[in-house]
């Protein structure tokens, strides 16, 4: 995804979060401080919203981990609306209490695809209260060059000799999950069984360490990956669909494919930080951007489809074509949607990732 950027890199981490906490000025009444992914708040959408409502929108670009860290550092202050992925809400809420429940009656539910609304409701509910509303969704799968397309059809094929030295993936949890599925396991089914999950992760760890010589570099930002693929230095990668479609538009021999074991589906949500200072504006923004025509603008900018009902009609034709080419009926039904991550799992995964990074 274009926007899933360097943000985490360029921040020197906690220092920034603390400084933000110390010096962020108090929001005036008519201001919406939005923390979101790149592409989710295009300039023209922001301008239109400001014109219609008179509310000033301040956008901070971020990613899941960065968003959570920032909100954790301030106890849920500093922003009025956040857009974390749905699987990363409950665990975070239980540990750090950084969100407040959403008043669903204030959301124009008619604008949102019912199936997705229900899925998000289930996965972001805690103690009978809902913490997320679906916004944008997408998948991660494989971006391959036509030259190797028939040899790379699943995540584990990234370790084959055919693409030695010309492979890139991230060293983050989606890679662990993807490889687990490709190895014939079902990590999601093992989410609530730590012992079983650990044994699956051990298998994945061995595979990733074996695979390491094949990898050119672990990509850390969307732009970095795009340039690696554009120059032909990397011919197969595990990555987000939007990036694949963007490259396909530039060079038809590069395409995004759903792996045999299934693409991994994520839904980014709207969530209210616990100490949001302008909840009204947050609801206004949600109802505004979920209008089909506005949502389509976000899709055209970010490359990712939204949960808005009827937005497809207004999306650029080539983007829709690329999407249909990547997902036939079977591939769509085979998407593995991330369930909420139980607390404690991520530290286990973290150690696996650390060991893979340090292995030589």
């Amino acid at each position: 995804m274009e926007g899933k950027h360097w943000t985490s890199l360029t921040r020197t981490g906690i220092a920034t979060a603390l400084v933000t906490a110390l010096f962020s000025t108090h929001a005036s009444a008519e201001e919406l401080r939005l923390i979101t992914w790149g592409g989710y708040a295009p300039d023209d959408v922001v301008a239109q919203f400001e014109e219609e409502t008179g509310i000033d929108v301040q956008v901070t670009l971020s990613n899941n981990e960065d968003m959570i860290s920032k909100l954790r550092a301030t106890g849920g202050a500093g922003f009025d609306l956040a857009q974390p992925s749905q699987d990363r809400i409950i665990g975070v809420q239980r540990q750090f209490n950084v969100y407040q429940p959403i008043d669903v009656s204030r959301i124009d539910a008619a604008q949102i695809q019912p199936s997705m609304l229900k899925a998000t409701q289930e996965s972001t509910s805690l103690n009978g209260q809902q913490y997320g509303v679906p916004a944008v969704w997408g998948t991660s799968g494989l971006i391959v060059n036509d030259a190797v397309a028939d040899q790379v059809t699943d995540y584990t094929d990234l370790c084959s000799d055919a693409v030695a030295g010309k492979v890139s993936y991230r060293l983050k949890r989606p890679t662990l999950i993807g490889f687990a599925f490709a190895l014939g396991e079902d990590p999601f089914a093992a989410y609530n069984d730590p012992d079983q999950y650990e044994s699956i992760m051990a298998k994945v760890e061995d595979k990733l360490i074996d695979c390491k010589p094949n990898v050119k570099t672990y990509w850390t930002g969307g732009d970095q990956l795009l340039s690696l693929i554009r120059t032909g230095e990397v011919t197969a990668a595990m990555a987000w669909d939007a990036g694949g479609w963007k490259l396909h538009a530039e060079d038809p021999s590069i395409r995004f494919v759903a792996p045999e074991s299934g693409a991994l589906g994520w839904i980014d949500t709207f969530a209210l930080p616990r100490r949001s200072e302008n909840v009204d504006a947050a609801y206004k923004w949600i109802n505004f951007v979920m209008q089909p025509e506005i949502a389509a603008k976000i899709t055209n900018q970010s490359g990712n489809f939204t949960a808005s009902k009827g937005a497809d009609e207004f999306v650029k034709a080539d983007l829709r074509d690329a999407y249909r080419q990547s997902f036939d009926e079977d591939a769509l039904n085979n998407i593995k949607w991330y369930p909420p991550v139980p607390p404690g799992l991520e530290s286990m995964e973290g150690q696996v990732l650390d060991r893979v990074q340090a292995a030589n």
Binding site: S8, L9, T10, R11, T12, G13, I14, A15, L18, E65, D66, I68, S69, R72, V92, R94, Q95, F96, G165, L171, K172, K212, V215, K216, T217, Y218, T220, T231, G232, E233, P343, E346, S347, G350, Q351, L353, D354, R355, Q357, A358, A359, N360
Partner: protein, 286 residues
């Protein structure tokens, strides 16, 4: 000026500095030290203990990265000194008039760009589709694209480049003050190049050498972008592990412990370096 007014103006002058040190350096470090001893019992209760430090020693990937980072930083510092010394010697002793200023400026100019830009510059040169690879192929030294990025050598190249200025400046400053005659005297008394360098020039330049080494070593040890961007998959660097613990693992306790350990490591190495070279911090930095 009356004494009380002088005192007041001194206080006012010092206030921003003291505030800066206390708010942004001392307090966060104390807080980090405290967090590093936290042990999570459940999701909302915290006890104190040494668990994080225990993890550091029991998980080999932590201390191996730690040792690796230390050794590579020392090597980088040494290499920077070896490369910077002739440059500094030329600028301080041989260049005359305007060329002296021009040469000094030439060392300074790359630092007008940020570390990120400098690192990208190196990546453009070293990558498989980059300039060096293209030149090697053009002159027939290589059959196909050569990948020079994403290994330890590339990381060291980047780090040396980033440290060069901070080594050249103190060396030039100390060498500048050296009296021409003592070098001549060294030769007159029958010394060759090597003995003159070892017995006269190096001892004279030692404060510059040590302060340059301290600065470069600290910068290298704490650098984040260069090892990650240029080292890729094999560049496990300690600062990266700290960042990962804080930001992607939400494990502030472990991150804080690793941060404290890094601070201890750098302090110990600097202290040891001062002892070995017989310098003291006041003399070197003064």
């Amino acid at each position: 000026m009356r004494p009380s007014a002088g005192k007041l103006s001194l206080c006012l002058l010092m206030a921003p500095f003291v505030l800066w040190i206390v708010l942004l350096v001392v307090l966060p470090h104390l807080q980090m030290l405290r967090v590093s001893f936290h042990v999570r019992e459940t999701w909302d209760t915290v006890a104190f203990g040494l668990e994080q430090y225990g993890n550091f020693f029991s998980e080999s990937y932590y201390w191996r990265t730690f040792v690796r980072t230390g050794v590579m930083s020392l090597f980088t510092t040494f290499l920077t000194l070896v490369i910077a010394f002739p440059i500094a010697w030329y600028i301080a002793r041989l260049a005359r008039g305007r060329s002296k200023g021009v040469l000094f400026l030439a060392c300074l100019i790359p630092f007008w760009a940020s570390e990120l830009v400098r690192t990208y510059g190196w990546m453009i040169l070293l990558r498989e589709s980059g300039l060096f690879s293209a030149i090697l192929q053009a002159v027939g030294l290589a059959d196909g694209p050569v990948e020079m990025l994403y290994n330890d050598a590339a990381v060291i190249v980047g780090l040396v480049y980033n440290g060069l200025l901070f080594m050249v400046v103190p060396l030039v400053t100390t060498l500048d003050g050296m009296d021409e005659h003592i070098v001549e005297a060294g030769y007159d008394l029958g010394g060759n190049h090597w003995t003159v360098l070892r017995e006269i020039i190096l001892p004279w330049a030692m404060p510059g050498v040590v302060s340059g080494c301290i600065v470069v070593f600290m910068l290298t040890l704490g650098s984040y972008l260069t090892p990650i961007l240029m080292g890729g998959k094999d560049s496990a660097w300690f600062t990266e592990q700290i960042f990962t613990q804080f930001i992607t693992r939400f494990n502030w306790e472990q991150g804080a412990a690793l941060g404290v350990l890094l601070l201890v490591l750098s302090s110990v190495i600097v202290w040891a370096g001062l002892r070995v070279t017989g310098q003291n911090l006041r003399k070197v930095m003064g």
